[in-house]
């Protein structure tokens, strides 16, 4: 498995992006497509108010065949009723016409403000001509689907002569409950729709499913994969590893690019009675506003880690067995604050990745969570989002 320094799309896949006028400025439309029919699968948000693109995806992913995905940013087409569904279908139809394929094989993704209608004529006009402009740089497509993201996110790697690429966006309204952002996998490896679905699930388990920027679950999230088979078969284990590795890389990139975030936060919990509790406690620590502000402030107020573990009142915890490390330094020993060098810890808290490791000492199960710090930037970003 070789990771590419500069990400690229697999053979036969292309993408384009442009500004069509949904947002005031910047790309707000992206088209991804394959030169042949691809097997496809997806994981969709579990929010009770799924957007029109999610409803359409539920229907279209059943057949497990896709030629392309068209995605807009700026307006999420959620809570828009019958008109929203119609707009999503029109958007797919416009992309299908541009690609000269069956609209049933085109998926739609939308991200942005909830409850506003899509300016569908602008979207339709924007789609025209995109196929001709398309190229093999996935960062171009990634740029077209950014909302509050500060950096476009795309990664790829080589496995047994095939390429696996992932393009994603996500910065806020991100918490597990599947999924948590827009993420698209493209590969020229052979894989059936059901194999793709299994690989997505397995890969998401310790990446997208443990990622929380702000505890809020988007109504538009999807993780979708397309496999064209053009590069022939790849061993299933290797391909699954490629999906898992790229899922983790993308999830960490999203956490690091969390709204206002300055640091990626990785929390690992071991010694738990079972995995459910290990994951719950890891998430409690990663989501705690007081832990997150402590990290932002490089403030070794490590009691907050104990607080965030201890607030999981339903979990089985024995206080005097709890150990914790922050940036490799023991900060909690047997449930008490350990002696540590505050100056050194302050320095290490300045690194761009912060690791918290907790051992509960009551079992052998483990779990992890990914998050980020909480800063004024998150507030600024979100106080006037609909108006900006």
């Amino acid at each position: 498995m070789t990771r590419h320094e500069t990400p690229r799309l697999p053979s036969g896949f292309r993408c384009a992006a442009k500004h069509c006028g949904i947002k005031a400025a910047g790309d707000d439309l992206a088209l991804f497509y394959c030169d042949r029919m691809a097997n496809a699968a997806g994981l969709l948000t579990r929010n009770h108010f799924p957007g029109a693109p999610i409803l359409l995806a539920r229907e279209r992913l059943k057949r497990g065949l896709l030629r392309g995905v068209v995605v807009n940013s700026g307006v999420s087409n959620v809570a828009t009723g019958a008109r929203g569904i119609d707009d999503a279908r029109r958007m797919a139809a416009a992309a299908a016409a541009e690609l000269d394929v069956d609209p049933a094989h085109v998926l739609v993704g939308s991200t942005g403000v909830i409850g506003r209608p899509l300016p569908i004529e602008r979207v339709e006009a924007g789609i025209r001509g995109m196929a001709a402009e398309a190229g093999s740089d996935p960062l171009v497509g990634a740029r077209g689907i950014m909302t509050t993201d500060r950096v476009p996110k795309a990664f790829s790697l080589e496995v047994e002569g095939a390429t696996v690429s992932v393009v994603g966006k996500g910065a806020g309204m991100i918490a597990p409950n599947m999924a948590t952002m827009l993420v698209y996998f493209f590969t020229d490896a052979e894989a059936s729709s059901s194999a793709l679905r299994e690989m997505l699930w397995a890969g998401a388990r310790d990446s997208f499913q443990v990622l929380s920027v702000d505890t809020d679950t988007s109504t538009s999230d999807m993780v979708v994969a397309m496999a064209s088979g053009a590069a022939g078969p790849v061993s299933p284990t290797t391909l699954a590893e490629a999906f898992a590795g790229l899922s983790e890389q993308m999830a960490e990139a999203i956490a690091r690019d969390g709204e206002g975030a300055t640091r990626l936060l990785r929390v690992t919990v071991g010694g738990a009675v079972d995995e459910v509790e290990a994951r719950r406690i890891a998430r409690s620590v990663a989501e705690s506003p007081l832990v997150k502000t402590m990290i932002y402030g490089r403030d070794p107020n490590v009691g907050r880690i104990l607080m965030a573990v201890g607030k999981c009142v339903e979990c089985r915890i024995q206080p005097d067995r709890v150990q914790a490390e922050l940036q490799g330094m023991a900060v909690i020993r047997d449930g008490l604050r350990a002696d540590f060098d505050e100056t050194t810890l302050r320095e290490r808290l300045g690194l761009d990745t912060v690791e918290i490791r907790i051992d509960l000492g009551v079992g052998s199960a483990g779990g992890r969570a990914l998050g980020c710090d909480l800063t004024e930037g998150y507030i600024e970003e979100n106080t006037a989002y609909a108006s900006s």
Copy 2:
């Protein structure tokens, strides 16, 4: 039931506060006491890492008799091991000596940084002479227990010739799971320890138990009541109403004074299948960072309300039956964004109390939550708390 404009302590109760040197400046020590034995009861934090004062309270509240409570701010005496327990006992003994009562009848409360030892000699020296300085203004005691609170919080009312007073502090690390701050009720009405406990529970149900400033649960929280009986009997229903009314007033005051908060947020959910789900959904909305920043920004981005309802994936919700009002204006109708006047809503979002009412339309159960907005002030307050 008559509410006092200016709060006062019941007959026979007195309090004092002073600066003893735990914090760099400001009062950091308070003493509350009664001139006779009072029946007592309390609700204590469920965090797995309770502080030494909580462990002592578990023991001392069993007997249901108290003469006084001594409280410090600045250091919470949590995760301090055997030394912490010893310090809490010494603090109680010093107050007992000052009051000339049995140390078993003195409760200790501490609030502040976790994991630091109490400067117990300063506390002991500080307690000396406090009884002589004590008076009947509960705001003096309230001032002594403030941490990040901007205003001291005390309220009182008259019922059938008796007085019921409440003194509390709380601003951050506040979420249900009992309890969520330091709150002390004092009354000269007659009430048994078990009756007090019942009234505390009942009163907390829709106040302290639905209050969340930041989803974090303190390790030091307690709600304690003392009843001296000096004013004779009061009808149990009236007394329970007084406790419930003061609990609500205090919970709202704490939410309004949440770290960095500029607005109180009340969320009411009706039409739910059961109360557990109604309360869970109300809390999800009140705790959502995206709803909280929307309120701070007076931004009518009402889709976030749907998102926060919809992320309760385990609750029974039918999207097209959901109605919501924000500041009395219909913003969600049948699960879709309603047409409303954005300018008027923006103005109303500037009021110091924000009301969100949600009707799920699938049952007849209701529930509520109290919270506040999320601002840069919360970040500033919490990035360097241990160091400031």
